[in-house]
Amino acid sequence: MTQPLASIVSAGVSKFGVREGLYGRELFAEAAREAFDSCPNLEPKRDIQALFVGMMSDSYEHQAHVAPLFLDWIGLLPKPAFRTEAACASSSVAMRTALFAIASGMCDVVLVGGVEKMTHVSTTGVTEILAMASDFPFEQWHGISFPGIFGMMAVDHMNRYGTTEEQMAKVAVKNHEHGVLNPKAHFQKRITVSDVLTSRPVAWPLKLYDCCPRSDGASCLVLTSPKIARKFTDTPVNIIGSGHAQDTLSLCERENFSTMKVTKLAAQQAYEMAKVGPKDIDVAELHDCFTIAEIIAYEDLGFCPQGKGGELIDEGATYLGGRIPSNTSGGLKAKGHPVGATGTAQACEIYLQLTNQAGRRQVAGAEIGLTENVGGSASTGVVHIYQRGD
């Protein structure tokens, strides 16, 4: 096996959901305290050399320059802090940046995380802020919302491969089923295919229950260089593969609206680096911002052939207990999608799974995990692969 890029020695996630009365900085402190408290050998002020934090929008809280702010609220001034923005992949890109810092040798212990506080803003307001991740003069200017962009992908996928609204609905049903097992999930209730199909139309063929909610939340990980991970824990999780690619901001310029080229490219890089393939993955966290996105992810990650994502959910392969359990956390759909927090929250779930701490949603004997996070209409794609390090 190749030398890992970095090791995760601790992780923390705030409760996701409607966190009334709390600012983003306070949610981040909640996540950081969990990461600090569950790693007794870590002395944050002494050991952590830098913070990398992802957040999408300054508009929610009228707050820019958040890196020093979040750093201050977790007691780590005056360490260097970096904020990254890549829409829904903001904290996965923070993680990439943190890996660069560790790989360069400039840092050997860093904190990486993400935050978003969204629910105090109206649905219309959130729709407008999220739409900023699409191309202003060519998409926003023509009334194309984010659900609209994924609606256009879904129509293409249905037309090209015969994917059905029922198959998309099953993704939501599965992720809600998993969310019931995650006490930190935004939603902890089961839904049925009929609930999804009869929910209000948002951007045809996507209905309300095909869409992830707006949520408040934060997440973080303590990353170290692999050679010192055991100073902090007996059960590190190693990051053994990392990939990251970009595509046009506008969906219209793509050759094929039914695939996310960034996911394919990032997965290829990550699989090659990790020397593993899709069949080796025991548990995955996927970017199900809309149900169609999870179906496309199955295909782009090689969990099934192109066009067969709908059949994979029909088979139940991605349920807990299936061949490749996906979104055991509840995914963006049920765990929630505080945009900036999502990338590192996916990594936190894989960390729990690979250290046998996932409780009722534990995938027995999980050794290798994968996260897939996309930003915007898949203009950013990041894939990471993890392995138990004990």
Binding site: T123, T127, P137, F138, G151, V155, A203, W204
Partner: protein, 151 residues
């Protein structure tokens, strides 16, 4: 076929030009052309690629030599959706259709689809591009283009 357009900048038209008076391949100039009911893109002089949205560096061959061309306004609908929860400035129109159209020349562009019953939308629908006459009072002061079933 696409036709070349003289790169000129008549006084007072508001086009942003280079020092030689050629209309620069910018987003704003694209929309200024929409105000003249022209659907424009650029062609790479080096490799011949048609680029839309217009830009100054060819992503296919990295040439900086691009020239404006006018597209015919016909094409087909590649994909679409019906937006029920729009951003606030579009609420009066909801539900409305948006889609991606492939021009006969090849480039693909997104836009709103008007003058159609929503149930008549289908992939492959013949469309044409038309232009609004209204220009917003504040930035960005551009007229929009939109799609409608081909006449």
């Amino acid at each position: 076929m696409a036709t070349s357009v003289m790169a000129s900048s008549p006084e007072g038209t508001g086009f942003i030009c280079d020092e030689k008076g050629s209309v620069l391949p910018t987003v704003e100039n694209f929309y200024k052309f929409c105000g003249e009911r022209k659907l424009m893109g650029v062609k790479c002089k080096a490799c011949g690629a048609l680029l839309w949205p217009p830009r100054g560096i060819c992503p296919k061959c990295f040439s900086y030599q691009v020239e404006w061309i006018e597209f015919k306004t016909r094409g087909k609908l590649l994909t679409y959706t019906i937006v029920h929860f729009p951003p606030s400035q579009f609420q009066a129109f909801a539900p409305y259709a948006v889609g991606i159209m492939r021009l006969t020349e090849g480039p693909q562009l997104p836009g709103m689809i008007k003058n159609i019953k929503l149930e008549d939308l289908h992939i492959g629908l013949d469309l044409e591009v038309d232009f609004e006459t209204a220009v917003p009072k504040e930035w960005p002061r551009w007229p929009r283009y939109f799609f409608k079933p081909a006449s």
